[in-house]
C-alpha cells in the first residue's frame, strides 16, 4: 500500500442510529459509524420533536460522526449539511440530503438519497453516507 493510499479515509459504515428520549418538544439522535479497523465515531444531533426535526437531527449526527472520522486522517476536509427533505420516488417515500464538501479550497455540492423506512434515523444516515462516500474515498 502506498503512503498516499494509507492516508485515505477508510470506508465508513453505519453501525447504529438511535433516537434518544429528551425533554418534551425536542429529539436527539445518536449515530455510530465504524471504520474497517473497528474504530468507531459517535455523533449526536438535536432538533425539534417532529419528522422534519428528526431528519435534521439524524443528518447533523451523521455529519458530526463523519467529521470525527475525517479528523483522524489529518486532512483539511470540511463537510456542511445544507438541506434535508422527504421525497416521493417511484411511488415510495425517500429522504434526500444536500451537503457541501470542501477540500483543498475546492467546494463540491454533494447529494444523497435513501428509501425512507420506519427507522427514520437509519434512513437519513444512509442518505448522508451515499452523498459523502465517493467524495471522501477519493481524497488524495
Amino acid at each position: 500500500m502506498s503512503a498516499e493510499s494509507a492516508e485515505r479515509l477508510p470506508r465508513i459504515r453505519l453501525s447504529g442510529a438511535q433516537r434518544i428520549p429528551v425533554a418534551t418538544g425536542q429529539c436527539r439522535v445518536r449515530v455510530k459509524l465504524e471504520a474497517p479497523d473497528h474504530k468507531s465515531f459517535l455523533g449526536t444531533g438535536e432538533d425539534t420533536a417532529s419528522l422534519e426535526g428528526e431528519l435534521h437531527a439524524a443528518a447533523h449526527a451523521t455529519v458530526d460522526a463523519l467529521r470525527q472520522a475525517i479528523r483522524v486522517t489529518g486532512k483539511k476536509v470540511e463537510l456542511e449539511l445544507r438541506e434535508v427533505a422527504t421525497f416521493d420516488a417511484f411511488g415510495k417515500p425517500g429522504v434526500m440530503v444536500s451537503l457541501r464538501g470542501t477540500y483543498l479550497n475546492t467546494e463540491r455540492p454533494l447529494l444523497g438519497f435513501a428509501a425512507l423506512e420506519n427507522d427514520v434515523p437509519r434512513s437519513v444516515v444512509k442518505a448522508v453516507l451515499s452523498a459523502t462516500n465517493r467524495f471522501l474515498a477519493v481524497l488524495t
Binding site: S5, R11, R82, E83, A85, F87, A89, F90, G94, M96, S98, P109, L111, G112, F113, A114, A115, L129, S130, N133, R134, A137, V138
Partner: protein, 122 residues
Amino acid sequence: MKARLEQAGDHYHADVELTDEDGARFTGGADGPRTDQDLLRTGALAAAAAAEQASGIAGARVEVQDLAVVREFGAEIVLVSVRATARNDTWQLYGVSRVRGDLAAAAALAVLNATNRVLDLA
C-alpha cells in the same frame, strides 16, 4: 468518469468510461431510441455496464429499473433505482445526481452514486 453521447440516425449511443486508481479503464456502452426518457436510460445503462466491469467481481450485475428527473433543493436532479447483484447478495439501491447540462452524464453519475458502496467503486 467520462461519458460520451452520440446520435446515430434515430438512436442514441452512450459510452461511459471509468478509470481506477491504477489507471485501468472500464468502458460500458448502450444504445437507445432518441427520446428524452431513453436519453436518460441510455446513459444509465452504459454506466451500469461499466460499473459491472470495474467492480472486478465475477457475475456482478447492475440492473437499471426506474429513472426520473425531479426538481428539489432548487436544482434539476436525476434519480435512479437499480438492483445490484454481487457475491450472492442483491441490493435495491437509489442514486442521485445534479443535471449540469448533459442528461445522459447525469444519469450515469446517478447509477455510480447508487452502486459505488456495494461494488466498492469509489
